[in-house]
């Protein structure tokens, strides 16, 4: 009796809705984009009456884990939003469908229209595995009024200018005030500084860590120095009660973050703050290098999974979301920046003063090393530098440890590369 009941219950499993359509696609969206993309689906379904798109939203913090779990468990969706730093990993594992053929045949997806640094992040060993959906890079958000008050009518363009500005702001604000908010559990900042000084982060075709190179050593020293000299508070993201309140109060005048915060700042900062902040591209290390300083080529792409039940229909969704008009609509909904130059012509983007800096920064972005272990290595970077930030370890020792751990992480990659005949 119990068995009968159990099987009856199990068969009551919720069935996917959209019953009268021939094809139901499973689409995993991440974070806010995952919520917003639902609003774009009705139009797609109107144009493609035989397709229903079921969007599942996954928080960003769990996304990488869930994608890998789905891969191992063989339950990957048809298509998903994938952070572009994860593309090399998923491609190496054979989880993604190559898209070259579809791109060539497509009237909508035109590689030349995309920012080259961004398109490049989706190419692994010459094969395209994802189509950029939105771009993300990091640059300065700053308080224009606080800077002007300490003698900086323009935002800083070199590291030394920036440090000077932060010193003055800290002195001006008094105890409990800082120059910049740099959460200690983010790897983007040290990677950015490293890249700006020309550090490669990994060497030998991504077989070993290169964190003890002179360039990265200097960058790490600069980064840790910002905390040790009191210009940045030693806080992890979980401990920061409310970034927006802190920024509005003037607890710090600089915050290195991405495009989604343009909308958030507008939404969450009090009205009297709205004329007092702006964005600016990153300062370069010194006058001898090009301005702006290099930033990370972040963002997310849309990828189709190998073994997807309906790859053709999944590609249709990607084409739809890649149309410049739809990308502009997407931007209007959530503030994410389009990866296509043609979409940037839209008035909402071209005429937006706080978004202009992003256009400039996007011309100077560098991809992360394209190794499958990047996520692990990125986590090691900030975890490895945290003791130095907290004064428990010298920077040089921290970097030695970091290289050691990264070498260990890459050990399997070395053996796999040695085993396979493909030269890298």
């Amino acid at each position: 009796m119990g068995l009968a009941l159990a099987s009856a219950l199990a068969s009551c499993a919720p069935k996917t809705s959209g019953g009268d359509r021939a094809v139901t696609l499973r689409f995993w969206g991440l974070g806010r984009e995952g919520e917003v993309v639902r609003d774009l689906m009705p139009e797609f379904e109107r144009r493609n009456p035989n397709i229903h798109v079921e969007v599942q939203q996954i928080p960003f913090t769990a996304a990488h884990e869930k994608l890998l779990t789905a891969f191992v468990g063989r339950v990957t969706p048809d298509l998903a939003q994938v952070g572009n730093t994860w593309i090399p990993e998923l491609a190496t594992l054979g989880a993604l469908e190559p898209l070259d053929g579809r791109v060539r045949r497509s009237a909508v997806v035109n590689p030349a229209d995309y920012f080259s640094g961004i398109w490049d992040t989706n190419v692994v060993e010459g094969v395209v595995y994802g189509i950029p959906w939105y771009v993300d890079t990091r640059l300065l958000f700053y308080r224009t009024d606080l800077l002007a008050a300490v003698g900086f009518p323009r935002p800083p363009r070199t590291w030394s200018e920036w440090v000077e500005a932060m010193r003055r702001i800290k002195a001006h604000g008094g105890p409990g005030h800082f120059g910049a908010l740099l959460p200690v559990d983010e790897y983007e900042q040290p990677v950015i500084f490293g890249r700006q000084l020309g550090a490669d982060l990994l060497r030998d075709g991504g077989r070993y860590g290169d964190f003890q190179s002179p360039a990265f050593r200097q960058a790490a020293g600069f980064y840790v120095g910002l905390y040790r000299s009191g210009l940045a508070p030693i806080l992890a993201n979980a401990q920061i009660a409310n970034v927006y309140q802190g920024f509005a109060r003037g607890d710090y005048a600089f915050y290195i973050t991405g495009p989604w915060n343009v909308g958030e700042f507008r939404r969450r900062l009090p009205p009297e703050m709205q004329g007092k902040w702006n964005t600016a591209p990153l300062p370069a290390p010194d006058g001898s290098r090009d301005w702006p300083g290099v930033s990370v080529a972040g963002g997310a792409s849309l990828a189709v999974f190998r073994g997807a039940a309906h790859p053709e229909e999944a590609w249709k969704v990607i084409e739809y979301l890649s149309e410049p008009a739809v990308q502009i609509r997407f931007h209007d909904l959530c503030g994410d920046l389009p990866p296509r130059a043609s979409a940037w012509a839209a008035p909402s983007l071209a005429g937006d003063p706080q978004t202009r800096a992003f256009r400039e920064q996007l011309q100077r972005v560098a991809p992360a090393p394209k190794v499958a272990e990047w996520e692990q290595i990125a986590a090691q970077i900030w975890q490895g530098l945290e003791p130095a930030i907290r004064g428990q370890e010298h920077v040089d020792d921290a970097l030695t440890d970091l290289d050691h751990r990264v070498d260990q992480i890459l050990e399997k990659r070395r053996s796999v590369l040695a085993r396979s005949p493909r030269a890298r």
Binding site: H64, A241, V416
Partner: protein, 302 residues
């Protein structure tokens, strides 16, 4: 009954027994015992994502995972944290349970059932849900724990942000959640102590404290051991609290437990061979600790 009939009925009974056992034992074997054996084999390989993609990437590496583990400072940190949790949280939990049991069992107590329910309630709650609540209680500005400290004239503590106070925060949460269950068992043990022993002690002029030391605790010893061992085993497997409360081991891995390390290595980074080795080491530690506890208690009795 003739011998043949007895044998036939015995065989029929045995057959029936196996039919009754088959589903249950089958499930246990297939979904518990077999995976544990497989986990051991897994720990002798470097099974990871590369191997999932292409099984030819799998290598048998013998005890390398275990050696790597022993050389890994993060593993030792996790082990240290776990021991800190067990050695501080364990006794505190048991002592609090004993105190609560003594109070509930006292002859003077009225509304016994009400208090018992109140103390036991946290034990049935879902860990994830209460950890969520406690996360807000521990908020440095808006949390009630710091407000309570404030009312007592003590300074506020940055509970979940400080490497010093994060583990104590977890210990407090675990004590709160678990003391009720132990209290029930100890209370039952207390009930079983014959009143005559207390009377004899009182006749000898023993006060309340002496009665506790010479009657209660010795008579409670087996129950005490049981509660101690169960708490110890459970606490070594610390996982959900740091997972929810401190974003998986922060700050600076001060709340990283061995079980959490295993989860991270296994299900975030998919270094499954290594994670399996971590799991087995945890098992060995639990076994050793339990054996030590039982043996120490036996020696105390002799």
């Amino acid at each position: 009954m003739p011998a043949e009939a007895i044998r036939r009925s015995a065989r029929a009974e045995a057959r029936a027994a196996w039919l009754f056992l088959a589903p249950g034992l089958g499930i246990i074997f297939l979904f518990f015992l077999l995976p544990i054996a497989a986990a051991f084999l897994l720990s002798l390989t470097d099974f990871d994502l590369y191997a999932v993609a292409d099984w030819r990437n799998l290598r048998l590496i013998g005890l390398d995972n275990y050696f790597r583990l022993l050389r890994d400072p993060i593993f030792w940190k996790a082990l240290g944290n776990t021991f800190y949790f067990v050695l501080v949280g364990g006794p505190l939990t048991v002592v609090l349970s004993l105190a609560a049991a003594l109070m509930i069992q006292s002859r003077l107590t009225r509304f016994r059932g009400l208090f018992r329910t109140a103390f036991f309630a946290p034990a049935v709650t879902t860990m994830v849900a209460v950890a969520t609540v406690w996360r807000y209680l521990y908020h440095p500005q808006f949390g009630w724990i710091n407000r309570g400290l404030e009312l007592l004239g003590l300074p506020a503590i940055d509970w979940l942000g400080s490497t010093r106070w994060a583990m104590p925060a977890i210990i407090l949460l675990s004590i709160w959640k678990n003391f009720g269950a132990n209290m029930i068992i100890l209370a039952a043990g207390l009930q079983n102590i014959p009143e005559s022993l207390y009377e004899a002690a009182r006749l000898d002029g023993a006060g309340w404290w002496a009665q506790l030391r010479h009657v209660t605790l010795p008579m409670l010893a087996p129950t005490f051991l049981f509660v101690g061992v169960m708490t110890c085993i459970g606490y070594f497997q610390l996982f959900a609290e740091p997972f929810v409360l401190t974003r998986q081991g922060e700050p600076l891995n001060s709340t990283l437990s061995v079980a959490l390390l295993m989860y991270k290595e296994g299900f975030r980074w998919w270094n499954m061979g290594y994670a399996a080795a971590v799991a087995f080491v945890l098992f060995a530690v639990i076994l050793a600790a339990t054996t030590l506890q039982v043996r120490a208690s036996r020696r105390g009795e002799g």
